[in-house]
């Protein structure tokens, strides 16, 4: 088992408006992209993010060697229980995910 971080170039999480979160996994090479696209299970991603699998939108984009995951924000941006105004830290949960 390896962490996703060891396989890819960069993982970035951002808000996509106040109600959505989007996480871009930049694999950095075709080899890494194929490896991640085959082995990263959407159910595991959902579990790490505390979300339901069916709420996740996943885009595997071979032309960019990128896998993009979008999901409704687990807490609305800036709500009382939100901990991360810009959605900046969610990438870390995927970076440390065992693949």
């Amino acid at each position: 088992m390896r962490t996703l971080n060891e396989l890819v170039q960069k993982i970035r999480s951002k808000n996509a408006g106040p109600f959505w979160l989007t996480i871009d996994i930049f694999c950095g090479s075709e080899t890494a992209y194929r490896d991640v696209a085959e082995n990263l299970r959407t159910a595991d991603v959902a579990k790490a993010l505390g979300a339901n699998s069916q709420d996740l939108k996943r885009f595997d984009i071979p032309s960019l060697n990128v896998i993009k995951i979008s999901l409704p924000r687990p807490t609305v941006q800036g709500a009382r229980d939100d901990r991360d105004m810009h959605g900046a830290s969610w990438a870390a949960l995927l970076a440390e995910l065992q693949v």
Binding site: G17, P18, W20, L64, V76, D84, H86
Partner: protein, 450 residues
């Protein structure tokens, strides 16, 4: 061909002056800059204010007004003052007046306002003209009426009306990030898919290139697509940096919804022109049957007081979660008892920085931190009440022991007073669209000579 000069991703983030001069020398048809977004949270929209310093905004805007005079073309700002509410537009207009007087140059300014009356939007909601987007919060008429600010996002149609006035400067309230860039190319008959795609690529300035913080880029639109060129030394656009920008802060990397339709970049082709510029073609604009504009709203969500304390004693660092849980439970009970409140009337939350502040119970990692910062967050219906409960929490954070047997501990407060009132807090309340019969229906345009 229409050339749009984009100085940076937002006014207030600064731009490279030499690159801007290079852009002016290349004879743009318009200078367009974004003034905000929702990304800094609901407080700015809730209060109708800018997140950026007035001083920085004025210095950067004065530089752009000089550049505009030199180029003899319109200068447009969208989402003025971070949130684009009418009060933020007024703030931007005041700054513009001051600069015009200092520069000794009379100007014709078109002011496009986007604020909505919450009562009108509540009525539109009841009549079925306000409909939810995916992941929208549940709302009713009372929620809508309780918003302190609601704005509608103008598209290219409203910016086009402002451009048609022949104004030197357009100060627009809330617009989509792309509308201020796409409007002129669309007016002049450039390729619609190219206009919207080029606008999306350009809306964050040089973020679509290497050396992303250099800001300034030129986008040239034509009958089949667009060419993007970063203008700062050492900044290069490549097919990869440009195509990857569609990912940025966008939940779908191929589709972008705008008033009146959507952009589909599934068939887009990206070609390097040289080492610096990229040409894009093949993007498609798909018009919609209905004309809708997105709504953003923020409403008051109580008053907050925060306290901070540092745990450095290894015993307390190791048992911080039990310590925090015990305090929350005891202080909540004491607050109910002494103030005659029910637990639903307020909240006390302790977040442990260094342990689990980012994700709470979802945090999969555990370690042995050197110290833990504890942020106590009190939320209540009034400012006075949040401060009063903050004062009830204060002695717990200072002296609460893990066990009754031990000598009374003391922890490290950073400040005196320890309670820091944050005032009123806000929450985003709308992720909806409003259907319009006419694009200007929800917007107003005023001409101001300064």
């Amino acid at each position: 061909m229409v050339r749009v000069l984009i100085p940076s991703g937002a006014l207030g983030l600064n731009y490279d002056k030499e690159a801007l001069a290079r852009g002016i020398a290349a004879k743009p048809d318009i200078i367009a800059i974004d003034g905000g977004s929702t990304d800094s949270g609901p407080s700015y929209l809730g209060r109708g204010v800018s997140k950026y310093s007035r001083t920085s905004t004025k210095i950067e805007w004065a530089g752009l007004m000089e550049a505009r005079a030199k180029a003899g073309v319109p200068l447009v700002i969208g989402t003025a003052g971070t949130c684009g509410a009418d009060t933020a537009v007024e703030w931007m207009l005041d700054i513009t007046r001051e600069i015009a007087a200092e520069q000794g140059r009379p100007l014709k300014v078109a002011v496009l306002r986007s604020s909505q009356d919450p009562d009108d939007i509540a009525a539109d909601f009841e009549n079925g003209r306000v409909t939810p987007l995916p992941a929208a919060p549940q709302v009713d008429m009372d929620v809508i009426r309780s918003c302190s600010n609601i704005v509608a996002l103008a598209g290219a149609e409203q910016i086009a009306v402002a451009l048609d006035t022949g104004a030197d400067i357009i100060i627009a309230g809330r617009t989509t990030d792309t509308a201020i860039i796409a409007a002129l190319p669309l007016l002049r008959g450039c390729h619609a898919g190219g206009a919207w795609h080029g606008a999306k690529i350009g809306e964050c300035g040089a973020l679509c290139a290497t050396n992303p913080q250099s800001g300034v880029i030129m986008v040239e639109f034509d009958e089949s697509g667009f060419v993007v060129t970063p203008l700062a030394d050492g900044a290069h656009a490549t097919p990869h940096t440009v195509s990857a920008h569609m990912l940025y802060e966008n939940s779908d990397p191929f589709i972008l919804y705008e008033p009146g339709g959507h952009l589909d970049v599934t068939g887009a082709r990206y070609e390097a022109c040289d080492g610096t510029s990229v040409r894009v073609s093949g993007s498609e604009w798909v018009p919609s049957d209905r004309y809708t504009v997105k709504l953003e709203g923020a409403r008051p969500a109580g008053f907050q007081t925060v306290l901070m304390v540092l745990l450095r004693d290894t015993h307390y660092v190791a048992n911080a979660q039990s310590w925090a849980d015990d305090i929350t439970q005891k202080c909540t009970a004491k607050t109910c008892d002494r103030l005659g409140l029910s637990p639903d009337d307020f909240s006390i939350e302790l977040r442990l920085v260094g342990q689990s502040a980012s994700f709470g119970a979802l945090e999969p990692r555990s370690g042995a931190p050197t110290e833990i910062g504890v942020i106590g967050i009190v939320t209540a219906a009034t400012d006075a009440l949040s401060q009063e409960i903050g004062k009830l929490l204060n002695p717990y954070l200072l002296h609460h022991p893990l066990t009754v047997e031990e000598e009374q501990p003391t922890f490290a407060f950073l400040f005196s007073p320890a309670e820091m009132p944050r005032g009123q807090i806000y929450e985003f309340a709308l992720n909806h669209v409003l259907e319009l019969q006419d694009p200007m229906q929800a917007f107003s345009l005023e001409m101001v000579n300064i």
